[in-house]
Subunit: 345 residues, 2 copies
């Protein structure tokens, strides 16, 4: 099975290392030999080699062009068509307000008949129905486990663990930067001090507005609502409040009331529609959403068949996100699809 990597940043590099480490398991347990036949980057060149790129060499190289064989390839779009692969693994940069250019890349890859595995929330938040139906028409997988809770099996649980279930409500703490900030503030650290600490650790970005203003949380609850509740939301439909206005007093008052302030993402059915909201909420200690520390994440599904199922992903690393990509590839290779009817007797 040949893979084309679109994007070669931290997540894709962790994925390449995981691939090297899991080679034997994949072959022995799944009969899978995964080979990377191309890597395209924005500013570190493009390489295609139909006999397989040496991943150790690619990880060590600054520019990838030395690993390229054959005709020159102009850009990422040309790369998608030129790289001989059954899978496109999409991990490019994303504008969270538009979902581009990731959405265009995913659409193009599916049109070209490639299975798509992406770590980008944009395509699902902005074009899920279209891309899902395009994939279904061509019996292709379009998977994105790494978009929510860092590769923990949340989307595969919706797909495989909860068939024929009506999910009535989804609640979660899905953004690590804001959760780590609020936990720090509980310990008496100021917002500014905590932000500096998280930026030094590489958890918060230089421009933290995407996290702090609730955009990342918003996009994630849209992904979960669209997939789990058959909604057709866009990020702009979500009632969004970030944690920028949260004061130390509010954090302390919650603690004194035996609660914890968390940035809660929520989606629910109301009058036949799915609504969604992101806002800081005082959560009681007995609610599993209150328990997550630092960069951990949590989501609870309420459904007609199960009163409440909660998944907690503790202390994720970039390797966890990379694992989500690998799990998706294995599941696509063994025939899993979003479309539900697979076999009739």
């Amino acid at each position: 099975v040949n893979l084309a990597l679109l994007g070669f940043g931290n997540v894709a590099r962790a994925f390449a290392r995981l691939l090297l480490r899991k080679q034997e398991t994949l072959l022995n347990d799944y009969g899978l030999e995964l080979r990377v036949t191309g890597i395209a980057t924005h500013s570190h060149g493009i390489a295609i080699d139909s006999s397989g790129i040496d991943l150790e060499a690619a990880l060590a190289a600054d520019m990838l062009d030395a690993l390229h064989t054959g005709d020159p390839v102009e850009d990422s779009k040309a790369f998608l068509a030129a790289c001989p692969a059954q899978f496109v693994i999409e991990t490019t940069w994303l504008d969270p307000r538009t979902g581009q250019p990731a959405t265009d890349y995913v659409r193009r890859a599916l049109q070209l008949g490639r299975h798509v595995v992406t770590a980008n929330k944009g395509p699902v938040a902005f074009a899920y129905r279209e891309l899902k139906s395009l994939a279904a028409q061509k019996d292709l997988a379009f998977f994105f486990e790494s978009t929510v809770m860092d590769g923990g099996p949340v989307l595969s649980t919706l797909r495989e663990g909860l068939p024929a279930t009506d999910i009535t409500r989804i609640r979660g703490v899905l953004n690590s930067t804001t959760n780590a900030l609020l936990c720090d503030m509980e310990g008496g650290t100021t917002f500014a001090e905590s932000l500096r600490r998280l930026q030094e650790l590489g958890i918060a970005e230089a421009d933290p507005s995407n996290d702090v203003d609730g955009w990342d949380s918003t996009v994630k609850i849209v992904v979960l609502a669209n997939v789990g509740m058959n909604a057709d939301l866009r990020p702009q439909d979500v009632d969004r409040t970030g944690i920028g206005q949260v004061t130390p007093d509010r954090v302390r008052a919650a603690q004194e009331a035996g609660k914890r302030l968390k940035l809660i993402c929520e989606a629910w059915r109301e009058d036949g529609e799915v609504k969604a909201k992101v806002a800081p909420v005082e959560v009681p200690r007995e609610d599993p959403l209150s328990i997550v520390e630092g960069t951990s994440g949590v989501v609870t599904f309420h459904a007609d068949t199960l009163p409440a199922l909660t998944l907690i992903e503790s202390d994720p690393t970039p390797d966890t996100t990379a694992y989500g990509l690998l799990a998706d590839i294995i599941n696509a290779a063994r025939g899993r699809r979003w479309s539900m009817v697979r076999r009739r007797f």
Copy 2:
């Protein structure tokens, strides 16, 4: 798709009602028309009808024999061979010390070429490798989601959500009666009072030793270790301590230390072997295992690819267990199997 129900107690009856309720969803979303062609009970008769048994009538009847068509059927073994069905749904009574007669029924059903979905822990705790390999040889599903955490998607998460993962440790609170007892004792109720209350609610059994002595927890950790860690444990291999010796003082001391006493099931790798233990443990409040109240359950998987993934199933009902059976049937029907290699490119 025809189903033979072996056992028609609370779980199977809840399953029959769920089947009636989900008929339309199954047909529309999964192209599945599930029909019960036979029901066998220990003391309420046996019915086979190849054109489909009226489930409303079966639920209302005391003896099933009036619903039977064709030649008389002597017992459950004869029923397995005589009932025209692709699936056997096994929910009979189980001796937790031997796993019988459920294990024999499951083996027989697989030998006859039926997919097997069971709510019985015995076959998995006592004969998992044999039954798994028998099912694989015949490309049959052998699923048992309802055996752990009441039908919450724990086993499907191992199968579908965590491929190519080495699970290094499993920890959980998996028995509802003992957890409800310990929670009651935290509130000052005595063991005896709490037990009486739980027996009145139908949560604890008349003879509570299977729960109180840790047998149920033991069998469940064996199921998870055998499936998730590729172990080959039997219940007698587990170092087992129940909660019979737990004093009110010990419960109170844990609370005063900011902890909660929980009956913890644990399996881990040690010197290349999988070991398992069941015992009451003082759990700190920041550990997700501490959070479960009453009959709720929780399990944490530690793995090479994910530091820790926790699943919490809150406030389960008999309908939750019934849902586990339905989820297994849908997954079997759409081609899911334990054997990992499903398709090659």
